[in-house]
Amino acid sequence: MRTGHETWRQCKNNAFHGLIILFSAILFLPLAAIIFHILKNGLHVLSWEFLTALPKPMGESGGGVGNAIAGTLLLIVLSSLIAIPIGIFTGVYLSENTHGKFSHIIHVAVDMLQGTPSIVIGIAAYIWIVKPMGHFSAFSGGVALALMMLPVIIKSTEETLKRIPNTLKEAALALGAPYYRTMLQIIIPTGFQGILTGVLLGIARVSGESAPLLFTAFGNPFLNLNMNKTVQALPLLIFNYATSPYEDWQAYAWGSSCLLLIFILSLTLLTKAIRPQ
């Protein structure tokens, strides 16, 4: 009787363990399906022409998504230029002032910004920049993406710098170094890897975003590197082409998805490789 009870408990225990693994492993199916379909439909579309050429007008074959690739890169550069300095400085402030009231307010603001839906950020950028300027622009898209990047950079900078032993700062100050040089020449370089990780994660996050670009960067069938004009981006192109009825365009969307996925996954892998232990 006693041992029977024990065996039953042990059985339940094993069944529970199995169930947990089963439910976790089921998630491999959709992941595999997504990757399979993207590779199957997208890989054969990728070619030199696809990467460099501009889209051809309806009915002509060939062409590519060079405009969207260039546009995505332009948007990444623009948003990085805005978000990296502000993000790092805010992260430094938070790591240096851990208990202040202002730090607490900034923390709440960063959490709120991180949770704000991307479409809402798009609307805000539209009202702030597109409306007063009177036209859609790459710049407004860059601002919208910068707002999405900021929380990632701020948090990783803060966490990284908080882990740097305080004695390093003391050593610099004991040499008579002013505070700003101590931070700029010792503390920030020491945390460089961690900060870079945050920047790359931020780029990975925004390079797949389309909702904030709908009313800002807007899309553009031509190549444009002027930040005052509309610009195409890979995610926007996927959205437009995927919902179009033309098979050629749908093939482009698969190819672009494949490209975007490879780009984002390589960024994530790179992040893993440089992440400090």
């Binding site: 032993p165 004695t167 003391e170 100050l173 040499l175 008579g176 170094a177 101590t182 020449q185 010792i186």
Partner: protein, 252 residues
């Protein structure tokens, strides 16, 4: 004994409303080693940090009294200028991880925006590393990162970093507590040589170390300076019972 280079007069120190250092007066003769001893929490590290005003990094502190460096009250000087004249070495070796050995030695100049010619740099680096008894071990790899060195070597690099600024005074906060006996012996003999050019003030837990290398010993307890004098006298005929008990290892 040599004339005093540094004098502390009636130093009081509070963190919030905690009285950490109580009416402490002590002077340090030039080119000698002073060991400051006492059980943990007696205020010895805080006192040391007041000398180069590192205590100002902590919020909510208050200081009263005077510390005179060659007759000047240090609280009237610019804190950064003062710290350049007084070197400091910490408990754990802390070379700057992003800098090479070469730049670590020059860190004081780099961080203060003082530009030097290539020749001056080479000279300062060689001098400081030689003084810190590290030159022979690292001269082949000056441009490697300082963090690749052993613990003892790292600590000597930190000493070289402090010496490169040519300070008159070197403050050491338990500099060997994180090191093995061999590295400790190395640092001790190095300090004995250094006292020809700098005044060494060292906080230590290690009673034997104080007796081996210091000229003057001060004993602190609960924020007060109980007694001080030549090391020989302190270890042979201590006046206070608490000193005697501490030095003979009865507490602390």
């Amino acid at each position: 004994m040599n004339p005093d280079i540094l004098t502390i007069e009636h130093l009081n120190f509070w963190i919030a409303d905690q009285h950490i250092v109580k009416d402490l007066s002590l002077s340090f003769p030039e080119n000698t080693i002073t060991a400051i001893m006492g059980p943990s929490g007696c205020g010895k590290t805080t006192m040391l940090r007041c000398i180069n005003r590192m205590h100002e990094l902590i919020e909510n502190t208050r200081v009263e009294g005077k510390i005179k460096l060659s007759g000047e009250n240090i609280f009237k000087l610019n804190a950064m200028a003062l710290r350049r004249r007084i070197g400091m070495v910490f408990q754990r070796p802390n070379p700057f991880p992003t800098m090479s050995i070469y730049n670590n030695v020059l860190a004081g100049y780099i961080l203060n925006g003082i530009s030097l010619s290539r020749k001056e740099k080479d000279q300062i680096v060689q001098e400081a590393l030689t003084q810190a008894a590290l030159w022979d071990e690292v001269k082949e790899g000056l441009h490697r990162k300082g963090t690749f060195l052993s613990g003892g070597q790292q600590q000597r690099l930190c000493i070289a970093r402090a010496l490169a600024m040519k300070p008159k005074i070197l403050l050491l906060d338990e500099p060997t507590s994180a090191l093995d006996p061999k590295a400790t012996a190395h640092i001790e003999s190095l300090l004995m040589e250094l006292k020809d050019t700098v005044t060494v003030i060292m906080v230590t837990h290690n009673i034997a170390q104080a007796s081996r290398i210091s000229n003057q010993t001060a004993f602190m307890y609960l924020g007060e300076l109980i007694e001080h004098g030549t090391t020989e006298r302190m270890f042979t005929v201590p006046k206070d019972k608490r000193t005697e008990e501490y030095l003979s290892g009865k507490f602390g």
